[in-house]
Assembly symmetry: C2
Homo-oligomer: 276 residues x 2
């Protein structure tokens, strides 16, 4: 595998760009191939079988771009598909859940950790599993927030109605004396200010993107495949609405997204059976 090969990063849509932003900040020399599954977004309420099928297709597509490692920049796919799909390829595959769990287990002082995410992520219980592996003495409380993704996609990032919805979701966690709250969906950092204003300054907000970029850096170093200084060009692909995606990406990323290409992602289907 060439050191100068790109990193594949994928998400159900635009949320994963918050992870890309962090990778570009921490390891700016690595070229990125991003895929957003905008034709089938959102993943949050769909079944594990479907999320595994979609993840497999996307990984197959990314491999046609000769990526040297893959980041699943989507909590739902990290929760429901990572373990299965990582075994099927020979390159490193990392997700956002384990890094987020690591930060949360280190951040808590009183041992009460809240996690917010999609239905798929919360119902999987995966943050609880990973956090308890690192620190068995903590208590983890999950709350699914299905309307956050549509509110972010609607662009109501500072809207009073988003505040009201957030209060509704988060109030049940506040009564549990949490001192740490994991933003367990890559869309949520975009409404971080609203969430922060509700939980107050005494609760640490954990954005798994930061630690994910650190883990990616370590994985590349350990495998000896960090970029050795070659030109770094990023490429963006989606399954629907390339122009709309490009406009959004340019409001999020520090680089100029000049072009986004549409991909027929279903054509990357294969004969693999999904085992759960």
């Amino acid at each position: 595998m060439s050191c100068n090969a790109p990193i594949g990063v994928f998400d159900s849509g635009i949320g994963g760009l918050t992870v890309v932003r962090e990778i570009m900040r921490q390891i700016p020399g690595e070229p990125i191939i991003y895929f957003g599954d905008t034709a089938r977004v959102p993943y949050g309420s769909k079944s594990q079988k479907t999320i595994i099928t979609y993840s497999r297709q996307i990984i197959k597509f990314l491999q046609t771009k000769n990526v040297k490692a893959i980041v699943i920049a989507c909590n739902t796919a990290s929760a429901l598909a990572l373990e299965v799909v990582a075994k099927e390829v020979s390159i490193p595959v990392i997700g956002v859940v384990k890094p987020g769990a690591k930060v949360a287990s280190e951040a808590t002082k009183n041992g009460n950790i809240g996690v917010i995410g999609t239905e798929g992520t919360i119902n999987s219980g995966i943050y609880n599993t990973y956090i308890k592996e690192l620190n068995p003495d903590v208590r983890v409380y999950g709350k699914a927030c299905p309307l956050f993704v549509p509110l972010v996609e609607e662009g109501w990032l500072t809207d009073p109605l988003t505040v009201e919805v957030a209060k509704r979701y988060i109030s049940s966690l506040l009564g549990l004396n949490i001192d740490t709250l994991v933003l367990g969906c890559t869309h949520y950092p975009l409404i971080r200010n609203i969430i922060g204003s509700i939980v107050g300054n005494d609760v640490t907000l954990v954005n798994p993107a930061y630690e994910t970029a650190i883990e990616l850096k370590q994985v590349l170093l350990q495998a000896g495949i960090e970029n050795n200084g070659a030109a770094c060009e990023h490429k963006f692909y989606v399954s629907d609405g390339a122009d709309k995606f490009k406009r959004f990406a340019n409001t999020i990323l520090p680089c100029d997204v000049v072009e986004t290409e549409d991909v027929n992602i279903e054509s990357f289907a294969d004969a693999l059976t999904t085992y759960l």
Copy 2:
């Protein structure tokens, strides 16, 4: 084509069940094959090309069930795909937009009609086109309401927050002196009470499902393919989450939905190119 063959009905997910309910009420003798594309829901913000591709796959699936006619029980797919896909099959294909436009053009007294729907439906301008074909002297005002579908899917059907979101969307139409409002998305009848309380008793709410069932009845009569009294069994298929769908269907429909089957809808892809 056998008179006793079923009617195929499809939607992006659960919304089309409001159309099925109306068909069952008006033409109870007709067996229905329903397909809900729950793996790729929602359609409302996706491109015409993608909606055509998905509609083609679903029609191909429905044809394996030997349906004698197809109802596109989704406004977005009716708006963006019907015209293209109807030409590709030899059985009648009807949508919900033309029937809704007919009722609206007949209902208005002052000539000011509002239409609410998904981004795809509203941006297509199709209600305006059809209504003006029937009555060139009216004025049609559209407003996309992207959060209504997630609010309904979240089950907040009578929630004060849904009222607030609805007020935000609908207030701009109220200043335009509309006397008729088309519920241009099959999810919206499920929050009809909220919408009605905001627009008041002087505005007629149009649910295209009612007129769609009437049009279907006429189409079957004209083609001489109405069911002649054979046993009437309905079947339900989805692309994801069959159990969840079944639970919801049983709260909506007058019949008992005993079983819902998962279908790998992507496997019905074909080599057709999408022309726009």
